[in-house]
């Protein structure tokens, strides 16, 4: 911009402000360059915005916590997120991103080609529990209980406080019969037996609510055996490690489990008590009995293995799930999205084209309408774009901001908001000129008035963006973030770039004297016969006058 101030004055120092602004902008770019030097990976260039899955291609899985396991707390959700994160990484996927969303969701995003089975694997809750087999060898019923009766039985079971049962009591109940249990539990036992009598063992899998401290009616689908199980004696969280192992003699895959802490001691007690009569215990995964072995020998070191028709993959998958801990919450897959690379590419192209076209349209309109001042708008929009770009890069590095299609839409929509600030400012200047001020004074007076309006209007935009961001989920957040970011950038650009630039330009002959193309000439403003620079002296009588 050819700006040549004629003399210094008491007006604000636009040159200094402009210089500082541009230095800051350059510094931000230098920062990105610096980060880029620091990154070794050629692919992960700091000049490349982080793209969302919809623009890059990949898989997104939304897991929804179920409210059956008591309160879904932030802690539990974070814990689950960590465990899922480890599981995903264990499957060999790099760059996968696992985040929580809202109060009860975990999002898994995996860029690039889909890996088969990953949804099933990471979403599995893997609630592994050791329970005593109170009653086994029950046949699968042909007809299930009707819903009303089933609910009534469940209520009886739920109303009893089973937590008061000791391990010894549970063992005695198995070895010497369920009638050894205190009276308070007898109604529950009857209900369990009724439930078991109506239990249909579906070979495709069972769907039961596996609640840790309550007895459970479930089945071993491979054997079609319906079972009544005791409350949990060893929770999955007592598992120290789990490894797949191959027994070459029996040509069978199994999962070796190493227990720790209380689980180790409890396992010792259980196996010691059950071994003499070769009583059985059950290993239950997500409500379904995987295996219910008889205790052949006391196990004192806490090491056991689960067999049950595993192959190499499923043994590995289960041990991964167990090793990285049982999830503190039960999840269901709420949705999964898979975007192919070429579709993603097309979306990115469409977004970029829309952005460029939108910017051009606004520029053309502003040039036509504001002429010379239009150049200021172009300059401001370009500076705002440059600032937005560098902020997107930095926020991508800093807080992991990824650019999604709605995000790009937010940036494009913001072009309008940004241009709006300039229009408010310019119209104010023109108002002041019409009121008879010289351009230099009009710029300052117009600014003072426009400033408040711009801030108030932008505040509304920011409030909208922040509420959207806090209360929205999924794609909406990216949009809100982009909108909020650009509104802030708009404020910065208008204050530290546009305003000082206009102040400087007002001192030039081209603008200050109201050149025909400056957008501030008399005829353009509709004040015929006067030059802008002269208006100060000949105040038009029309000023401030209203018809009626």
């Amino acid at each position: 911009m050819a700006a040549s101030p004629q003399r210094s004055s008491s007006l604000p120092r636009p040159k200094r402000t402009l210089t500082i602004f541009l230095v800051v902008l350059l510094a931000l770019y230098a920062l990105v360059a610096l980060i880029n030097l620091g990154t070794d990976k050629g692919e992960d260039s700091a000049w490349q915005p982080r793209l969302g899955l919809d623009l890059e291609g990949g898989t997104r899985i939304t897991l929804q916590a179920k409210a059956t396991e008591g309160d879904v707390t932030k802690d539990k959700l974070d814990q689950a997120r960590n465990i899922i994160d480890q599981r995903v990484n264990a499957t060999g996927v790099t760059e996968a991103e696992v985040t929580t969303q809202g109060n009860d969701q975990v999002i898994i995003e995996i860029p690039g080609e889909r890996k088969a089975g990953i949804v099933d694997e990471v979403g599995k809750t893997a609630q592994l529990r050791f329970r005593l087999l109170w009653t086994g060898d029950l046949p699968s019923a042909a007809k299930p209980l009707d819903a009303k009766d089933a609910a009534a039985q469940q209520k009886i079971i739920d109303d009893i406080d089973w937590t008061k049962l000791s391990l010894d009591q549970m063992i005695t109940a198995e070895t010497q019969g369920l009638n050894t249990l205190p009276k308070t539990y007898q109604a529950g036992i009857a209900a369990l037996q009724k439930e078991a009598a109506g239990f249909v063992c579906n070979p495709a899998g069972v769907d039961v609510d596996d609640i840790a401290n309550k007895p459970l009616v479930t089945c071993d689908t491979k054997r079609g055996e319906v079972q009544i199980l005791s409350p949990t004696v060893i929770p999955g969280s007592d598992i120290k490690t789990a490894e797949p192992q191959y027994d070459s003699q029996r040509a069978e895959w199994s999962v070796r489990i190493d227990l720790k802490g209380e689980g180790k001691a409890a396992f010792k007690t259980v196996t010691n008590a059950l071994t003499p009569a070769q009583n059985r215990f059950a290993i239950v995964l997500d409500g379904e009995t995987i295996t219910a072995p008889a205790s052949q020998a006391p196990i004192n070191n806490g090491v056991s293995s689960i067999t049950g028709g595993f192959n190499a993959d499923s043994a590995k998958a289960l041990s991964n799930q167990l090793k990285f801990g049982a999830l503190p919450l039960t999840f269901g897959v709420n949705g999964s999205e898979e975007i192919g690379p070429s579709l993603a590419g097309t979306q990115l192209d469409a977004g970029l084209i829309a952005g460029v076209v939108g910017l051009l349209l606004v520029i053309v309109y502003c040039l036509l309408y504001y002429r010379g001042l239009g150049l200021v708008i172009i300059g401001s929009l370009l500076v705002a774009s440059a600032l937005t770009y560098v902020m997107v890069l930095l926020l991508g590095k800093g807080v992991g901001f990824t650019l999604t299609l709605p995000g790009i839409a937010g940036l494009i929509v913001a072009i309008g908001i940004t241009a709006d600030s300039f229009i408010v400012f310019f119209e104010r200047i023109r108002d002041e000129v019409r009121d008879g001020k010289s351009l230099r004074l009009a710029v300052e007076a117009g600014w003072v008035r426009a400033r408040g309006t711009i801030l108030a209007a932008d505040a509304v935009s920011i409030i909208a963006a922040v509420t959207l961001f806090i209360f929205a989920i999924g794609v909406v957040r990216g949009f809100a973030f982009a909108l909020g970011l650009t509104t802030l950038i708009d404020v910065f650009v208008v204050f530290f770039f546009t305003k000082p630039l206009v102040s400087l330009l007002a001192r030039t002959k081209f603008f200050g004297q109201g050149h025909k193309l400056s957008g501030l000439d008399a005829s353009h403003l509709g004040i015929s016969g006067r030059k802008v620079s002269e208006i100060a002296r000949t105040r038009p009588s029309t000023a401030g006058k209203v018809s009626r």
């Binding site: 939304t62 809202g102 897959v333 949705g335 999964s336 999205e337 898979e338 192919g340 690379p341 579709l343 097309t346 979306q347 192209d349 469409a350 977004g351 084209i353 829309a354 952005g355 076209v357 939108g358 349209l361 606004v362 309109y365 309408y369 299609l405 709605p406 839409a409 494009i412 929509v413 309008g416 908001i417 709006d420 229009i423 119209e427 408040g452 108030a456 209007a457 932008d458 509304v460 935009s461 409030i463 909208a464 963006a465 959207l468 806090i470 929205a472 989920i473 794609v475 909406v476 949009f479 005829s523 353009h524 509709g526 004040i527 029309t542 000023a543 401030g544 209203v546 018809s547 009626r548």
Partner: protein
């Protein structure tokens, strides 16, 4: 263009003035009619919810050319996949080479089967989107919460900023107006409502109020010290503010709509159906409604509410009385040939002038107004 500028100058000076506030009943009637139609459309027809709200699977298949034959091939492929729930899918072409296929809710395994079948039938690339039935509901619930919180904050913000609850009320009425109209357009046209549409609707909130705040700011400026003015009523000053910001309103609406139009264009022409189109469409309709409502609804309403205030009422009565008196003075034969043209106002200095009539009896009998 320079004609628009001249026009702008005339608006600014009040040489050309549209009586927005005086004709508010007409605009209220128009708005009410549109809102009623929109609401009826919504009640009778309801929304055409996208798959995100119903739950299901959306497959996006890339094919060589998207046309009737390739669409049919895709439908057949879905049927051939042997997945029972996938029958009777909805199929749309989207852009030149993309076909969208929506089925009912499927399991992951089933969806994979369909994908494989589609690839066999000639799709070069298949994207799939498995959507649980609760997803859309969550988006909607969250959006509604967001909307209510936003309304709450904004009511307080406008109240504090303008020190005027009436402007809050008027702003919110205009906002609801815009939302209902946009929703009505969706109900009437049968455009699909997706989470992107919801995003668009929520964004309209910001825009609608942005515009309204700018106009209100000018109203506030014009009506500063209105109580001591004897020449202008609140309504007139508010109307002047509308006229003075008219060019700005037009310009900002155009500059805001241009990028959205580009977005809409890219969404429809390049991508066919999809989130970009849904978002841009909601924005486009909502912004038009927003530009309309801040001029024709919000400001007249704010002004009307304000006029009910006793102090403002009294002031308006004084202005009217003074005008009537001046008109009478001009009609009077006395002082014929005096310089004063009736409409010319000579920058009154407030209270001093107002006191004049009662102090200084003229030849004509005073009307004994205020």
């Amino acid at each position: 263009m320079s004609r628009i500028s001249t026009f702008g100058q005339h608006l600014y000076e009040g040489r050309v003035s549209f009586d927005f506030i005086g004709r508010r009943k007409v605009f209220y009637a128009i708005s009410a009619a549109i809102v009623v139609i929109a609401a009826l459309a919504f009640i009778v027809r309801g929304f055409n919810y996208g798959v995100e709200f119903k739950g299901g699977v959306e497959f996006t298949a890339k094919v060589a050319v998207a046309n009737v034959e390739s669409s049919d091939a895709m439908i057949e492929a879905v049927e051939d996949s042997g997945v029972p729930d996938a029958g009777d899918p909805t199929v749309q072409t989207s852009g030149k080479d993309t076909i969208r296929i929506q089925t009912k809710a499927l399991s992951q395994d089933e969806a994979t089967k369909v994908t494989e079948s589609l690839k066999k039938a000639g799709a070069t690339e298949v994207s799939q989107n498995l959507i649980g039935p609760t997803y859309g509901k969550q988006v909607a619930t969250k959006a509604l919460t967001g909307l209510l919180v936003f309304l709450g904050i904004v009511v307080v913000f406008i109240w504090v900023y303008f020190r005027e609850w009436r402007m809050s009320v008027a702003g919110i009425v205009a906002l609801v107006h815009d939302l209902v109209i946009t929703a009505g357009v969706y109900a009437l046209s049968g455009f699909e409502v997706t989470p992107a549409t919801v995003t668009g609707l929520l964004t309209i909130l910001g825009f609608s109020l942005y515009d309204t705040v700018v106009v209100f700011d000018k109203v506030r400026e014009n009506t500063k010290g209105i109580l001591t003015s004897t020449t202008k009523t609140y309504a007139e000053q508010a109307n002047l503010a509308l006229n003075q910001t008219l060019v700005r309103s037009i310009n900002t609406s155009i500059t805001a709509l241009l990028p959205v139009a580009a977005l809409l264009f890219a969404g429809i022409v390049i991508l066919g159906t999809g989130p970009l189109k849904d978002l841009a469409l909601a924005l486009f309709v909502g912004m038009l409604a927003g530009a309309y409502s801040s001029i024709f609804l919000a400001t007249p309403l704010a002004s009307q509410l304000k006029e009910r205030e006793p102090a403002i009422k009294a002031q308006a009565a004084r202005v009217m009385a003074r005008r009537a008196k001046e008109a009478n003075d001009a009609d009077a034969p006395v002082a014929a040939g005096a310089v004063a043209a009736p409409s010319r106002t000579v920058r009154p200095t407030g209270a001093a002038k107002r006191a004049q009539p009662s102090r200084k009896p003229r030849s004509q009998r005073g009307k004994g107004g205020s």
